[in-house]
């Protein structure tokens, strides 16, 4: 069990909290100590809007350990509207409905659980915009 490790990631996973570089203003996700854009220290928290578009995607049929129960599932690179690209599952959508450039929004879902008696891990996934799905 990695309770402390999961606990440290809670803001990232639950609120999409990254950082913004105080020197060059680049928004960063995931948060890191050094800005990859300008090389200066970065530690100012910044909460992303959760809106973005699908940059690339694939369907996972042979998942790694702890994700078998969700197979098959969609994994995507999502480009956040603020700039950074992150890896996340797509949810509430079928593979044939997904396309590159499709607008998506962040939702909080179960990522996995550490067995029947262990922690349940929650975090970000992305899905098509609800209003667009019904329009």
């Amino acid at each position: 069990m990695r309770v402390a490790g999961h606990w440290r990631l809670k803001r990232q996973r639950l609120t999409l909290e990254g950082e913004v570089c105080p020197s060059c203003r680049a928004p960063l996700f995931p948060p890191r100590d050094v800005c990859p854009e300008c090389g200066k220290p970065a530690a100012t928290p910044y909460t992303f809007s959760g809106r973005g578009t699908v940059y690339a995607f694939t369907t996972v049929y042979e998942p790694p350990a702890h994700f078998e129960q969700y197979r098959p599932y969609l994994l995507a690179l999502v480009k956040l509207e603020e700039g950074p690209i992150l890896t996340a599952q797509l949810t509430d959508v079928d593979p044939e409905e997904v396309s590159i450039g499709m607008p998506v929004e962040m939702v909080t879902r179960r990522l996995t659980e550490e067995g029947e008696e262990g922690l349940i891990l929650y975090g970000y996934k992305f899905r098509p915009l609800v209003r667009q799905q019904v329009a």
Partner: protein
């Protein structure tokens, strides 16, 4: 005669509201196909089923984010987040802290999980009225959310559904709707229960009707209307706990309400019984359509048993803020039908999966 009305010292209202309903639907005909050879009446058309990555916490979080969007307040202004459910993901560890963290409402916030069968959410709403109405806090959030389970083959399997609603209670000034009065009517009536560690609930069959559902809802509704000096025709809308299509329509008729008053909030035929969310999700569908000045009666029911009744009046503020989040009907419309096999997988009923 002392009043039974729960009256806060300052007037409070609903500052924001939000709902969430998962997209999967299990038609009741599928349950009948599995267990009765397709024969017999169906209590609903279909029910909402949670996806593999959904539970009461994720449902509560999305409903709560929608409520915050409509309230337009900083999550840091919330002093309480209370989640009512009978399907909290953990037996010990609060759902409410997960919701609070996800909303960005930590750390100066009261958090707690409530349980009273299907009325845990409205119980939390009355507590929030007290919290704000006593000026201990300016904003408190109450949530009713569930991923209810019915034993395979049991009558509840047709209806036990998933969904939830969140309400931010705040000062009447600036609210989308003012809560003009509420009361609680409770007795020890064992119509439905689930023992600790048991996977599925047990119920008293027909005993869940007259002495439980009908007695408590009619008693709470009549007492509230007597206290408020109102008649059924004073309300534009009425919404009741909805375990199936028959009960809420019958209780509405017993009390003197017409279909025009209850059909907007009657969602059970399309999404099933969302337990702690049932009456509250119905209220969100009403607020999605209501006009300023409309008066609403909401009466919940929780087995065990009790009812909370509320008299609500919609304000002008509803018009500019309700489109700040998806409407309840938007969630209901993104329907994906599943068969019994997929349902069994989604609800964790397959051994060794």
């Amino acid at each position: 005669m002392p009043t039974h009305l729960l009256t806060p010292t300052r007037s409070v209202g609903i500052t924001g509201y939000g709902a969430y309903v998962p997209r999967y639907r299990l038609p009741a005909a599928e349950v009948a196909r599995m267990w009765t050879g397709g024969r017999g009446g169906l209590p609903v058309r279909e029910k909402a089923v949670p996806g593999l990555d959904e539970d009461t916490a994720t449902i509560a979080i999305e409903a709560a984010r929608n409520a915050l969007a409509r309230a337009g307040i900083d999550p840091q202004a919330l002093r309480a987040i209370w989640v009512g459910s009978e399907s909290h993901p953990y037996a010990v560890k609060p759902t409410s802290t997960i919701v609070a963290e996800a909303l960005g409402a930590v750390p100066y916030v009261q958090a707690g999980d409530w349980e009273f069968a299907c009325k845990a959410g409205t119980e939390a709403m009355q507590a929030a009225i007290g919290f704000v109405g006593s000026s201990m806090a300016d904003y408190a959030m109450c949530i009713g959310a569930d991923t209810a389970q019915g034993r395979p083959g049991d009558a509840l399997e047709y209806t036990a559904a998933a969904g939830g609603a969140a309400f931010i209670i705040g000062p009447a000034e600036g609210a989308l709707a003012v809560i003009q009065g509420s009361l609680s009517y409770v007795t020890d009536t064992p119509d439905f229960w689930r023992r600790a560690g048991a996977e599925y609930p047990s119920h008293g069959q027909r005993f869940t009707g007259e002495p439980a559902y009908f007695h408590h809802i009619t008693s709470a509704a009549k007492a509230l209307m007597a206290e408020m000096g109102t008649k059924p025709e004073d309300y534009r809308y009425a919404v009741f706990h909805q375990p199936n299509l028959k009960f809420p329509q019958r209780v509405a008729k017993m009390l003197g309400f017409t279909p025009e008053q209850y059909q907007t909030g009657l969602l059970v035929g399309e999404i099933g019984n969302t337990y702690s969310g049932s009456a509250m999700v119905g209220l969100t569908a009403i607020l999605d359509e209501a006009q300023p000045g409309d008066r609403i009666l909401m009466v919940s029911f929780g087995s065990g048993a009790g009812s909370d009744a509320f008299d609500i009046r919609v304000t002008d503020a509803i018009l500019s803020r309700r489109d700040n989040a998806p409407r309840t009907r938007d969630y209901i419309a993104r329907r994906v039908e599943v068969d019994y096999g997929m349902y069994a997988r989604l609800r964790g009923k397959l051994k060794n999966a």
